[in-house]
């Protein structure tokens, strides 16, 4: 749950940024027996967010084969991506990336969220400003 608060703190700093956030709550731990309650959902209160409950770990199962194939691209604990399930994980996609058949590889990714959320966001905007400078 620290990950959700860390994410909220980071996106709060990006109040004017053109971003969309997808929070997928997974039934991953033995204690995750029910869908997240209002108190949990309130941890990410940014109106740009959409929240999902994924009791069958469908997103993890879809993403894991793709993400585990490029573990060197993961910032932080690679085991949270290359293990049986992907969890406590964050990915950032720039505009233009689409999800066709296979789950798309993100521009930046890392785990656990509480440790990497701020770093990923900073790296992302740095890379965007660099590419904007190159285009000029």
């Amino acid at each position: 749950m620290q990950g959700a608060s860390a994410l909220e703190a980071v996106v709060k700093e990006q109040a004017g940024a053109d971003i969309r956030i997808y929070v997928v709550w997974e039934k991953i731990l033995a204690t995750d027996y029910a869908a997240p309650g209002s108190g949990v959902l309130a941890r990410v209160f940014d109106p740009r967010a959409v929240q999902y409950w994924d009791p069958d770990l469908l997103l993890s199962k879809t993403a894991q084969p793709v993400l585990a194939a490029s573990p060197d691209r993961v910032i932080g604990k690679k085991a949270l991506v290359t293990g049986k399930y992907v969890w406590d994980y964050e990915a950032i996609y720039p505009p233009g990336v689409t999800w066709d058949v296979a789950f798309p590889l993100p521009e930046l990714q890392g785990a656990p969220v509480a440790d990497v959320a701020k770093d990923l966001m900073q790296r992302y905007w740095n890379s965007r400003s660099k590419s904007a400078r190159v285009r000029r």
């Binding site: 749950m1 990950g3 959700a4 994410l7 996106v11 940024a17 053109d18 971003i19 969309r20 956030i21 997808y22 929070v23 997928v24 709550w25 997974e26 991953i28 731990l29 204690t31 995750d32 029910a34 869908a35 997240p36 309650g37 209002s38 108190g39 949990v40 959902l41 309130a42 990410v44 209160f45 940014d46 109106p47 967010a49 959409v50 929240q51 999902y52 409950w53 994924d54 009791p55 069958d56 469908l58 997103l59 993890s60 879809t62 992907v86 969890w87 406590d88 994980y89 964050e90 990915a91 950032i92 996609y93 720039p94 505009p95 990336v97 689409t98 999800w99 993100p106 969220v113 992302y124």
Partner: protein
């Protein structure tokens, strides 16, 4: 069924359905194999924006 479990049943049913999302967000969507494509479609609809995807445990 005891009186105590009868009293707790509505609470349990509410908690299984998930809570209320914060103001400005759509309601919590439970993913299943029948509607999983909705997540992919939303991701693609938002392709003009920077997108952040996170997978978390609720506990």
């Amino acid at each position: 069924m005891t009186r105590r479990s009868l009293l707790l049943l509505p609470l349990l049913l509410v908690s299984c359905g998930g809570g209320k999302t914060p103001a400005g967000q759509p309601p919590l969507n439970t993913l299943s194999s029948a509607n999983f494509n909705e997540l992919r479609e939303r991701f693609n609809r938002d392709a003009g924006h920077t997108r952040i995807v996170v997978l978390l445990s609720p506990t």
